[in-house]
């Protein structure tokens, strides 16, 4: 077990109008519980608004839940910001536009003191190579790169801290299909090579099918079905899962 999620709820208060005193409550997450085991790839599937991104941010401790607990395995996760990393969906907003690629990758190395100063450059080059970015990228800025390349840079940055657990929130949804396939293969390769655990969030069933070993299906802040990937696709139990599969199939 690497992570146990217990009955997480996240409610947002929203004002109904400029002059109204009434407040509406949006239940982004309404009682979500599941377990992630080491070296799993957990796929989280659902339409927009089902709460998947809110869940990711809570797991990453970027926002706090209204109620419920997160239990990380303290033997495995010793330094949270180092052991748990993230790749976000939007490649155009995930990198500081004013920084050079070298600095972007070097920064986490510096923050966590992973390598001494003289070893920074070789380590950065190594990370870029792993992610499939050419050497001459070092002096350039994010704006010169395509969406797929930027996600690779985000990947290199996340891998810099040598994480154990990677949360991927729709990391390829905004990319061309051919690039999506390349990135998925890269994720799979790295997972094996670096012995990582993944939570892979997507609205695209075919993508999740390709990469996940276990799947949870979310709808309106709740989990409606969970199980091994093959089973979800061949013997879906909930009506909602069946609707999703139908839509994806024809």
């Amino acid at each position: 077990m690497i992570l146990e999620v217990r009955d997480i709820r996240k409610y947002f208060e929203v004002e109904r109008g400029i002059f109204s005193q009434e407040k509406a409550i949006i239940k982004a997450l309404d009682g979500v519980s599941f377990t992630v085991n080491e070296y799993d790839t957990l796929g989280v599937v659902g339409e927009s608004g089902c709460g998947k991104t809110t869940l990711a941010k809570i797991i990453l401790k970027l926002i706090s839940p209204t109620s419920g607990q997160l239990q990380f395995n303290c033997g495995l996760i010793t330094n949270f910001r180092k052991d748990v990393q993230v790749i976000f969906q939007n490649p155009y907003n995930s990198l500081d536009p004013k920084m050079r690629i070298f600095d972007i990758i070097a920064e986490p190395l510096i923050i966590h003191g992973i390598v001494p100063k003289d070893k920074l450059r070789p380590r950065v080059l190594d990370l870029l190579r792993t992610a499939g970015i050419e050497e001459n990228a070092l002096e350039r800025h994010p704006i010169e790169f395509s969406g797929g390349q930027r996600q690779r840079i985000c990947l290199a940055r996340a891998l810099a801290v040598e994480p154990k657990f990677l949360i991927l929130d729709e990391p390829i949804s905004s990319l061309d299909l051919t690039v999506q396939a390349e990135m998925l293969d890269l994720f799979l390769k790295l997972k094996k090579q670096l012995r990582l655990t993944y939570i892979f969030i997507s609205h695209n069933l075919a993508v999740v099918r390709y990469i996940a070993s276990r799947i949870i299906v979310m709808k309106e802040g709740r989990i409606v079905e969970e199980g091994p990937a093959g089973q979800i696709f061949s013997q879906p139990r909930s009506e909602y899962t069946k609707t999703l599969l139908d839509a994806a199939r024809n």
Binding site: K57, L60, L62, R81, K82, V84, Q85, V86, F88, Q89, N90, N93, S94, L95, D96, P97, K98, M99, E107, P108, I111, H112, C154, R157, V161
Partner: protein
């Protein structure tokens, strides 16, 4: 940009350009119109106007730059804290900004100057201390919108300290509009200093400042047009120059 460039060069190289020392009194040449010997003419004490203006350029520009520098540093400091931390810190700082904005700053400056000795340093400090609020608001707004972008969240996830996030990521990305405001602010500061000097509350004679040269202009208006025209023109062109620079920067950034 050209204007500012030339102006800065003049200010820096003042001692080499000015043909005479600004204080040199030539009793034989009182109130002479522009001529070969005296490009801009002389004033009622026989001092060469051109030289005085060149040195005055130095003074005015320095005051403008430093005053705006002070204002920017204070503004960025308060604005970033307010924008980044939000909640009660934001509330507190913004109320402070509102209070400062309520003060009629010109009168505040007059009062302070009347109490303390008017000196160059006081002027710089005072203008700086009363003009940081706009900058604070600007940078707070930029930071509030930047905070929502994923790259800031990624920095948090990477374990970056608050200080690193503010100084290495938020401020460099937010600084654009602040720079534009600063450049335009220099124009304002120079105008303010000229006004104060004209009223006798700014730079004190014999140190030349375009503003205090104009003091004499009042009494000699009919007789010596050059004492009025040249400083006035200089102030006008400088302000225009900085405004153009600011507008140009705005286009480049936006």
């Amino acid at each position: 940009m050209l204007v500012i460039g030339i102006l800065s060069l003049i200010a820096i190289f003042a001692p080499f350009i000015a043909p005479y020392s600004p204080d040199r009194i030539d009793e034989a040449s009182l109130l002479m119109p522009p001529s070969g010997a005296h490009l801009f003419g002389t004033d009622s004490l026989g001092r060469d106007l051109f030289s005085r203006m060149v040195y005055g350029a130095r003074i005015s520009l320095t005051i403008g730059l430093i005053a705006v520098g002070i204002a920017t540093i204070i503004g960025v400091f308060f604005g970033s804290l307010a924008g980044f931390y939000g909640s009660w810190i934001d509330g507190l700082i913004m109320r402070f900004v509102d209070i400062m904005l309520c003060f009629p700053t010109f009168f505040l400056i007059l009062t302070v100057v009347a109490i303390l000795e008017p000196s160059i340093y006081n002027i710089m400090a005072i203008i700086g201390l009363t003009n940081w609020m706009g900058v604070a608001r600007l940078i707070r707004a930029e930071i509030l919108s930047l905070k929502e972008r994923e790259f800031i969240q990624a920095e948090v996830a990477l374990g970056a300290s608050h200080r690193r996030i503010i100084f290495n990521h938020l401020i460099p990305n937010a600084i654009g509009p602040v720079l534009v405001s600063a450049v335009l602010g220099i124009a304002g500061a120079i105008l303010l200093e000229s006004g104060l000097s004209f009223l006798g509350l700014g730079v004190q004679p014999p140190t030349p400042s375009w503003g205090n040269i104009l003091i004499e202009a009042k009494s000699t208006l009919g007789v010596a047009w050059w004492i009025t025209i040249f400083p006035g023109l200089a102030i006008f062109i400088t302000i225009l120059g900085f405004n153009f620079l600011g507008e140009g920067l705005k286009k480049k950034i936006g």
